[in-house]
């Protein structure tokens, strides 16, 4: 339930500044950054994602810790399923080839 999924910001959205595109294990989806302070997020940053929202900005090492934790908990598939399932701004999502 309180799954917190690490993702890296790979694209900013000038038209919708509250949406950024994140990469989570090769899956790219938009997430909402409205729960973070204005200007907190830059391209390349890592965030913790929960139900479509970035909850906090974290470091790259912390993101890797978090990924390993999800794997160890057997929740990495669930996390990917969740990120794939976000449809609220899925128009330009898709998998990384």
């Amino acid at each position: 339930m309180c799954l917190a999924i690490p993702g890296q910001v790979v694209d900013l959205n000038d038209e919708q500044p509250l949406l950024v595109k994140v990469d989570v294990g090769g899956v790219r989806r938009n997430v909402n950054i409205g729960l973070l302070e204005d200007g907190e997020i830059a391209l390349g940053d890592w965030v913790l994602i929960h139900v479509g929202f970035a909850l906090s900005k974290i470091g790259e090492a912390e993101a890797r810790d978090q990924l390993r934790m999800l794997r160890a908990m057997g929740e990495d598939e669930l996390a990917m399923e969740e990120v794939r399932g976000y449809t609220f701004a899925a128009d330009d999502g898709g998998e990384r080839r």
Partner: protein, 381 residues
């Protein structure tokens, strides 16, 4: 590695998967050195994610016998009383109405069945991964009212709040939230006030604290004299957290410490807290499964959002439903009983046919115990 094997033989089964295996053995050894063999320790892990991790990694086997872990109320679907499930399903039964909820909710039994079963009988109930997905469904289906069955602690509530702000901004009128968000601090207080609960310390919830920060737990130390350590979810995190608690207990201290500093800022997420305060207010009281009515323990939409408040728009039955008599979810939730001590455990109630919500979610103590500890115990027998 032979020395680590000697100090904690059961560690070896998962040693490869984790950060600093040698460190895990060191911490386990340090815990054994810190405890007073003449006394018993009862430590509550508040968060259901911790409960899951403890069973999955067999951490029970690493701890001395006199350190008992008591499972706390931090599993949103577990603490939701059946009456609220029924209320949500009553909204789903209305014509031209779609009920949306997270996957965890789909298999939680109401009086007339689970959301999944009602869906099979024709109700329009859909699983979403984000409250924003529910809002999108409302925008895409203007002839249908889309209600989001919101559950979760402070980790999840800000997302619902921001979705409501977005609904107001976009003036989406066929959208509402049936709000069941709860807050963890009053539940901890209720447990501390309960006469049958004797606890020596708390492992604080890691991801909830990402939002709340550590400060809200200070009353546990100050007023009740019990230590709290906010901890992460890897075996090393949990063991370190438990060691920090045991050290405080040994030194006769009670303070709030943060083991999960790499993720949890002491002050939490101020922007998310502001969003929560803009949309929600505290309910005077709310019923928790097993813990009963707890004052100021849940969130409702402020009057300014009444148009999007499912409870205001639809007269939900609001009937209090007692749990099946034989099921002892309440006792397990309070930590009075361990899962296998419930009369239904593994018989009438299993993950395929859950009678109580604790058997549904992977964060529920019963599901976690059923999945991991049962097989471990059978192997030992």
């Amino acid at each position: 590695m032979t020395t680590t094997n000697e100090t904690a033989p059961t560690l070896m089964k998962y040693v490869d998967e984790f950060r600093d295996p040698a460190l895990i053995a060191t911490v386990a050894h340090e815990i054994a050195r810190t405890v007073d063999p003449a006394r018993h320790y009862r430590i509550m892990e508040v968060c259901g994610g911790h409960t899951h991790a403890i069973y999955r990694h067999g951490l029970r086997d690493v701890l001395p016998d006199n350190v008992e872990l008591v499972h706390g109320p931090g599993c949103p679907v577990c603490v939701l009383p059946t009456g609220r499930v029924d209320d949500g399903l009553a909204i789903a039964a209305r014509p031209d109405t779609m009920l949306t909820c997270f996957g965890d909710m789909m298999r939680v039994p109401g009086t007339q069945g689970t959301p999944l079963e009602l869906k099979a009988r024709g109700a329009d109930i859909r699983m979403v991964y984000s409250p924003l997905d529910a809002l999108k469904l409302a925008q895409d289906n203007p002839g249908t009212h889309v209600c989001f069955f919101a559950i979760g602690f402070e980790t999840t509530a800000p997302s619902t709040a921001l979705t409501l702000l977005r609904a107001r901004e976009l003036d989406v009128r066929n959208f509402s939230v049936f709000c069941n968000h709860v807050t963890i601090v009053p539940a901890i207080r209720a447990i501390l006030d309960s006469p049958d609960m004797r606890l020596d310390g708390f492992v604080g919830p890691g991801h909830v604290a990402t939002i709340t920060g550590c400060r809200p737990y200070e009353f546990v130390a100050r007023r009740y004299g019990k230590p709290v350590v906010v901890a992460g979810f890897e075996p090393l995190d949990l063991l370190e957290g438990i060691l920090m608690l045991l050290r405080q207990i040994r030194a006769g201290e009670a303070k709030v410490e943060n083991q999960y500093r790499r993720i949890v800022p002491w002050e939490g997420n101020p922007a998310a807290l502001r969003t929560l305060a803009a949309v929600f207010e505290l309910r005077p009281y709310f019923e928790w499964r097993g813990l009963g009515f707890i004052s100021q323990s849940a969130l409702k939409l402020k009057d300014a959002f009444a148009r999007w408040d499912g409870e205001v728009r639809f007269a939900v039955p609001g009937v209090r439903v007692t749990d099946p008599r034989a099921a002892q979810c309440g006792e397990v939730l309070k930590g009075v009983l361990k899962p296998p001590q419930c009369k239904l455990f593994g018989k009438e109630c299993d993950p395929e046919h859950p009678v109580g919500a604790l058997m549904v979610s992977s964060e529920g103590a019963c599901a976690a115990y059923y999945r991991y500890a049962r097989t471990a115990e059978a192997a030992r027998a």
